[in-house]
Symmetry: C2
């Protein structure tokens, strides 16, 4: 078993840039609910997470295991890690991957700057992988580098949209009941086939639920269950709640989860995940105007139009750009009416590069230039404009996608065009 | 109950333009397997389909019932109808919709030119809707306009990707066993909760399957089952296979379906369906060159590049355009190096409009003009080029999306640019 911790795993250092206010609120509630806060001025409850990620993804129909399939060029598992990292009260995240994928996983952690992750080698089955993850957190193991948590969350690497509120409900319920799992209504009727491939009986849909992930357990409960369980369980079982019931007589509390908890299983799920992520990051846009703005500036007109399409539209002439970038806006339009240079765009690109915003998602910048075609044609002006291709090549290396848009018009038409919109 | 047949419902007239060779092959096999072919020189087996489409789609989280949600601006149910229409041996398709949606459904049938569809009013539950659909096909009903089929397929309006091969397997199995249903492996473990919201027991995943749609039945079997079944069944049941078992003692044959059979249930499923459809129609592109082509024509270079990205790339200077349109190509690039007029593009647009290709999917046409910016600037030339906006508005009404792309370059650069690619 290999263990690897990039940098310190202290929870205070885990992706602070990405943690919103909502996270802080929930952390406070977690504290309140846990009862652990009384001792050390509301210290984070001892919660760790184990992610089995050793699967081969054969159902996906693609050679890459599904947890490593790219969504917007970033591996699926990185989104799941990000979702867990955002939760301030999860101290350690243990990921079980195959020896074959160990190096790739290290690269992912480094590239996307994930913090507080430990890697262990996965087993040949899901249960064995989880067991390996639990061992890395247990007290009775030699050379252990992590401390035993009170509660452990078990989650799937291929469920990237897990929210803090369901994690909190599960952890709270696990403290009370010993185990808790997320459930969803069944989408299809479940049937039991007979040996000859015919219907034996069908189950009443209302009396059954789909058991989803995440699940949470008192660490001692689930570790005990794994230590006691049979080889048959480890080989053929998939359900942790079942082990807790069978070996520790713990009846898990069932928590209704959101539809977002679904497991990325088939290629269509990758499409769905990509669309969900795209929708999330595309709802916020910032229009950057050149500083020679006026009342009738096209930037303001653009703002009006974009507001009909998008949830969050901001306009700036540059002063509060830093703040907008901090709030994780991934889409920018730079509008240049009067100039044929890229001073404003260049400034924005510099700020974006410094912010590291584009590590997690591509940042899109559209630099719009208005040019009067009736004015004297100027080779020099065009050369200036065509420099954008060089910029674009340069910033693409840092995951910033720069596009140039030249609006070529007779001067007199602009006001007409704007009036028409 | 309302019954409505737009035009003739003869199977030979159902969307012949859309029926591929594979469909014809399968129809021949269907004939062979059915044993019905012997009597009347291989007449189509008597198969009808019933589609309950009265659901409210509350799980989708959108006000529109999911079967009417648009995918690429076309309602989901139209894709499902298209999938069934393509199967030459399905004679009638009965769709059960609410009175409220009856007019909307008629519009969909008319707009997308669906043939052989009958509408009936849905019931308040899925089972009641199916029963209404079956009644429209039964012999014992007054004023019936459809003939009783030997086998009836029951399918969901929200499963648009059903393929002919699985339909054929089901119909064949239904003839032999009286009933047949598509199944899929379970993605999640199924559990049974206790009354207090805790785990009672979990089911062994390998011993159970998800019951999907379509299903097929000897008409007399399933109609008998619906006639006998209790009000409780009609109110709270969902599974037709269960009714055939309970009331007619028919153990349905279970047929493994493809992952594509999944039911569009949540918003993410709409995203997935859209991506699947986009992928299908975007893998074929046709590059139309202007007739003043030469060896170094940019169209040929474009072809080389596109071949790395897409499955089917064709290049034409216009002569075999008609054939390419018939083969359902939805993407065109018109490359014009030497002219600033739109003669070639206009020709293509005319052919597309005549073909009705864009009834089912949007057709994308990109008209590319190369223009030397060092040549004498000509207002007239620009005015010509800007006419594309007028064309675009015009053809958008017929679902053709026309884009203009002006590549503005110094003459000397073109060969350099091409050499670099």
């Amino acid at each position: 078993m290999e263990s690897w911790l990039p940098g310190s795993s202290g929870p205070a250092e885990v992706g602070p840039r990405l943690r919103g206010l909502r996270g802080a609120d929930l952390a406070a509630s977690a504290c309140l609910l846990s009862g652990a806060g009384a001792e050390a001025g509301c210290s984070a409850p001892a919660v760790a997470a184990v992610l089995p990620a050793g699967g081969s993804g054969e159902r996906m129909g693609v050679p890459t295991p599904k947890q490593f399939c790219p969504i917007l060029e970033r591996p699926l598992i990185s989104y799941t890690l990000q979702a867990l990292e955002r939760v301030s009260w999860i101290k350690d995240i243990v990921v079980a991957v195959t020896g074959e994928n160990m190096e790739a996983m290290k690269c992912i952690i480094q590239r996307y700057q994930h913090k507080g992750i430990s890697l262990v080698e996965s087993g040949v089955t899901r249960h064995r992988s989880i067991f390996n993850g639990l061992k890395a957190l247990a007290e009775d193991q030699p050379n252990r580098r992590l401390s035993k948590p009170e509660v452990v969350i078990i989650h799937d690497a291929v469920r990237p949209f897990v929210e803090e509120d369901v994690l909190l409900k599960l952890v709270t319920a696990a403290k009370e009941h010993g185990a808790a799992g997320a459930i969803r209504p069944l989408v299809s009727t479940v049937i039991s086939p007979s040996a000859d491939g015919c219907l034996d009986h069908s189950l009443e849909r209302a009396r059954h639920r789909a058991s989803e992930m995440p699940q949470a357990f008192l660490f001692d409960v689930i570790y005990e269950a794994y230590q006691q369980c049979s080889d048959y369980d480890l080989e053929f079982g998939t359900e942790c709640l079942h082990l807790a019931l069978k070996y520790c007589h713990i009846k898990a509390k069932l928590i209704e989860g959101s539809p977002d908890l679904w497991k990325v299983t088939y290629k269509r799920d990758l499409y769905a995940a990509e669309s969900i992520i795209k929708e999330r990051i595309s709802q916020q846009i910032c229009v950057v105007m050149d500083t020679k703005e006026d009342e009738e500036h096209v930037g303001h007109r653009l703002e009006e139009m974009l507001k009909n399409e998008l949830n969050h539209v901001k306009v700036t002439s540059g002063r509060d750009l830093q703040q907008i970038i901090l709030e994780e806006c991934y889409n920018f339009v730079c509008v240049n009416v009067m100039t044929s240079d890229f001073e404003e765009t260049q400034k924005l690109l510099n700020m974006l590069e410094e912010s590291n915003l584009s590590i997690l998602y591509p940042v899109v910048v559209i630099s719009v230039q208005f040019l009067d075609y009736e004015s004297e044609p100027s080779g020099q002006k065009m050369e200036n404009l065509m420099r954008i291709r060089e910029f674009a090549k340069e910033v693409k290396k840092t995951n910033i996608l720069l596009y140039g848009l030249l609006v070529y018009y007779p001067q007199v038409c602009v006001s007409q065009w704007l009036a028409k919109q």
